[in-house]
Symmetry: C2
Subunit: 616 residues, 2 copies
């Protein structure tokens, strides 16, 4: 498909607002601080306001040119802080794209690069001696616009929720179990600051990613989800690459990791970061490996360090760095069922073995911190020894690395560098809590960011479900962000539909966790949808769901006629008899019968539950 | 599609054995006691033996004629007990099919009925004064062939599992958490007898369903799943109806409920029961309602009682009976978000309100027990007041009914009638444990049989996932059988693909629960698949999964060539670099390096975990 076609597809498929939805904003303390939400208009006149990750793409009024990138909303905030400087930046090298000059794509890519020249920005870095991390500001008591943005975003519009959460008895009965989290009734900017200051939350926001709409990852905030995307083997257009991002955030990805490998990864990353309203994460070792032709042994600290700076200048918001995979731990994997399954982890293991040396990520960790704090790149400390099967769950290799990640967290915090911790992987249900407990204990409540976990190993083709079970549970227990798994896990590369299936499964897991934790107001959407369901407002039921299109399509398969959208019955019981129709009669009966009923109860000893009477 | 086409489709689609699989049998203490298993041959010469619900349909050697039904394997066992008698049975009435004689289908159905005359059996019932329930035999110390069958089936072939579970350290680390269950290392026939005797397990096996392959539902046995099917509005053939059953058991349904309504339900039930190797459950009130033209108020005990006998004679193995929904509880639903959502429950609520009388199911409960024990039909005591939204979870209406079901369980057990208890529904994660606790406390460990529960309400189109999360958790906590939810839940009637999606999601939930509970040997399949995955035995990985077809198709989308089935790499990392290939190097390294490593550890103070060294 050529570029114009792709562009057309992008515009039609991923820019269309959700049904009955319009982009709205919560105004902050300053005119340039506006937090987007999605307002859904119901057929009964109500408006339900939802958390919105989709950025300007779902705003028909937004003029978007993927060759120019999104507006740099944060630039005024960065300028005001006056602690950064623009500079020429690292010199671009052919090697950055893993370029082989015989590459038959080289010319096309050069052309695309030229087309997208408008995406180039002059990089910023901290002025000499300055530390520009959100954690650094927080620890100095400063509430940044990013922190206020996060507070407003986490709260959302509370007004519409009130009537749904008004029943005191119900609220008492449904009160969440935060499992040790300390979630306030209202998130204030100061609360965000304090959580970031103590390292319990991060706001991934590289100073070179001014397009980002700030969000928080932390135990006391809403559980977030991450989606992974990768570049195409043969890139046909900028649109094709950007559209993967736009598609992922449309369905609710809070973060996106660019796991591109092979050709053109530097250029592809420019396209993605400049057009992304959500934080972008990467695994820099992947690009470093490309630079040494895929030979792990040939990796050097110099090449890796240069890659960190390259990506920090581009605006990557967090780096997965497997610095906890240490030489002495490698042999602990020798008797595993599935050895080392993390790609980054195995690259470093191979390097350590080849050189019989400690990992350069570990020995140079403080130098890495110096780079991170000059751009406010957050650590995502990688679990290179995560289990690749239930059989290897919670073993000494995994936990030895986790304890090391806890030590490294302390080092990162010494530099005020924001840090989260990556977790497994494959873990049976009964062993999930131990992962959370160990992480909290050794990593001092730094946000946990887990892949699944998959609760069983026998569901290839359905691992989004096998892992959504574990993800929902560990999210309830305190994990701050869930990395999605698609149906193609273990089998192949996810296509557009797989990405959507993985994201929806993880939105389910994250919402289930938020409801169980008792995040204020989070149940209101369930109540609104249930009310619509009960009142046969079909369209509202579809539009309040995670995927209105699919819900409507499924309904239409059985009852296609538009009139049935208002029908007071459904295909399950049909028009002749409907269980929900009974309830009005019940209500009349209750109203009328309450007095005699209560008399009856008193006669029966005032017990609501009346013991069975022996039958003659 | 006409009947021959359907028959062809049935034979090709649902009779084909699974890849590399063949039907095998575990021989019992007598020649007519043979428990089927599915033996999967791996490319490395191993054979993995799996629990098999698919019946003779996946045995190419079995001659199957859906117009004659399956072989009546249990007949010798029933005859030997000499406590039943054949009798003419209840006279067939036109009304049984809810027949309206102007019905334009009447003739076609009459013709199909004639075709299927071979399905008619002379019914059996207990001789006067006899009680023919498995519970009654168990309480008298008798081990029936059904009990031995269940024991062999639960254990499966243990030989092949040994090597996978040989690592003592791993077994210790992965030891399950039974959450109060008492699961023996090996299931003996006597254990089955004792569990049935105390009511902690049931073996649904109507004496008029001699075709059934016995299975157990109980907290100390493998978690089972149920799939619901319904008749077509316009039946075109016997094959069409039977194929829904065959399709469901192919993918692993342990039980099937026939929720048919409308026309021809008596005839359809004959077709299904006679061709079913798994227990069949029904909700008799549905048929009774058809007999009174869909007017709940017109229901009578006489019509309902006659329907119970009609279905007991046909061989239905368990009845959902909403006898716990009592008049005094109905008003408790008045202020619910979603009122009464159980169809059977709302029918009875409407009856109670209309007559201002206690439910006839409750007042006639002991008479119902008399019928159940004459045919060994098991109770599935229905939760007519289950919550239809998270907002209504665990409320007084739900729990008042649950306590009543506990009382009724005691009454049923007084008659030695096998009993299980139905549960919700919609329950947020943090409120699931309370459901299990209340059920165990008030229902005396009678098997719990839950629908989901759905952990959130905002996933229409994906409720198989929203509910698989709750199902896995409550299965771990002690629920014995999980009733599936399909993607069409709340939206429409599931088609063939929806049924498969629902079943696979629930096989995942049940297996995750069995692994967490620590059922002996249950993890072996995960270990075998993980080993195949690690050794790049792609075909074995597919064939050991829950859905080999889909796993293979997904792999082929990225790497179609057959050669890639033996390729020592996958599409995720490609041929150039593969994380799993590292492990052999790790093993060599570990073997060689172990001594020096251990020296290094001692030097470091003997700690496996080496504290970080400050970097200059």
């Amino acid at each position: 498909m050529n570029a114009p076609d792709k562009l057309a597809q992008l515009l039609t498929l991923t820019r269309e607002p959700f049904p009955a939805s319009r982009k709205a904003w919560i105004e902050g303390s300053r005119p340039d601080l506006r937090v987007p939400v999605r307002d859904v208009s119901l057929t009964n006149g109500e408006v339900v306001s939802l958390y919105d990750t989709s950025g300007p793409y779902t705003d028909p009024a937004a003029a978007i040119d993927v060759r120019r990138g999104l507006p740099d909303v944060r630039t005024p905030w960065l300028d005001e802080r006056a602690d950064t400087e623009h500079y020429e930046g690292r010199a671009r090298m052919a090697l950055d794209d893993g370029a082989k000059h015989e590459d038959r794509d080289a010319q096309r890519i050069a052309a695309l690069r030229a087309e997208a020249a408008g995406l180039q920005r002059t990089p910023r870095r901290a002025k000499p001696g300055a530390n520009v991390t959100q954690m650094h500001y927080a620890r100095r008591g400063i509430v940044t616009p990013e922190m206020e943005y996060v507070a407003l975003r986490e709260n959302g519009k509370r007004e519409w929720m009130r009537e749904y959460l008004a029943d005191a008895g119900r609220e008492q009965r449904l009160r969440g179990n935060p499992m040790g989290a300390a979630i306030p009734a209202l998130i204030t900017p100061e609360f965000v600051r304090d959580e970031v200051a103590r390292g319990r939350a991060i706001i991934p926001a590289n100073i070179n990613h001014p397009e980002v709409e700030p969000m928080a990852i932390g135990r006391n905030f809403l559980v977030k989800i991450n989606a992974n995307i990768g570049n195409s083997a043969v890139t046909s257009s900028i649109e094709e690459e950007v559209e993967k991002l736009v598609w992922a955030i449309r369905w609710g990805a809070d973060n996106v990791m660019d796991l591109s490998t092979g050709r053109n990864i530097h250029t592809t990353r420019d396209w993605i970061v400049r057009n992304s309203p959500v934080p972008i994460g990467t695994v820099p070792i992947y690009q470093a490996l490309e630079k040494v032709g895929g030979v792990a042994e040939d990796l050097t600290w110099a090449i890796y360090r240069d890659t960190l700076i390259e990506q920090a200048e581009q605006g990557v918001d967090y780096f997965t760095i497997h610095a906890g995979l240490r030489l002495p731990f490698i042999h602990l994997t020798a008797n595993r069922r599935t050895g080392i399954v993390s790609r980054g982890g195995s690259i470093m293991a191979k390097w350590c073995i080849a050189h019989h040396q400690e990992s350069f990520l570990y020995t140079h960790f403080e130098e890495i911190c110096e780079i991170m704090k000059a751009y406010d790149v957050s650590f995502s400390l990688g679990d290179g020894l995560r289990p690749g099967s239930g059989a290897d769950a919670n073993d000494e290799a995994q936990f030895a690395e986790l304890r090391t990640l806890g030590e490294l967290t302390q080092v990162a915090w010494k530099h005020d560098v924001q840090t989260m911790i990556e977790g497994p992987g494959h873990v049976p249900m009964h062993m999930i809590q131990a992962n959370m407990d160990e992480q909290i204990k050794h990593c001092h409540e730094a946000p946990f960011y887990t892949l699944g976990p998959l609760t069983i190993d026998i569901a290839p083709g359905y691992d989004h479900i096998a892992s959504a079970i574990g993800a929902a549970m560990i999210g309830w227990m305190g994990t701050a962000m869930l990395c999605y798994v698609t149906p193609k896990e273990h089998l192949g590369l996810p296509d557009r539909e797989d990405v959507k299936q993985g994201i929806v499964a993880y939105k389910i897991a994250a919402h289930a966790a938020n409801v169980a934790k008792g995040h204020p107001g989070v149940r209101a959407r369930d109540e609104a949808l249930s009310k619509a369901r009960f009142e046969f407002r079909w369209t509202d039921q579809f539009n309040l769901g995670l995927d209105p299109d699919t819900a409507r399509d499924f309904h239409d398969e059985t009852l296609p006629k538009d009139s049935s959208k208002e029908a007071h019955f459904c295909s399950m019981c049909g028009p002749k008899f409907c269980s929900m129709k009974i309830t009005q009669e019940v209500r009349d009966f209750a109203a009328k019968g309450m007095s005699e009923k209560s008399a009856e109860f008193k006669a029966a000893g005032g017990e609501l539950y009346v013991p069975i009477r022996p039958v003659a």
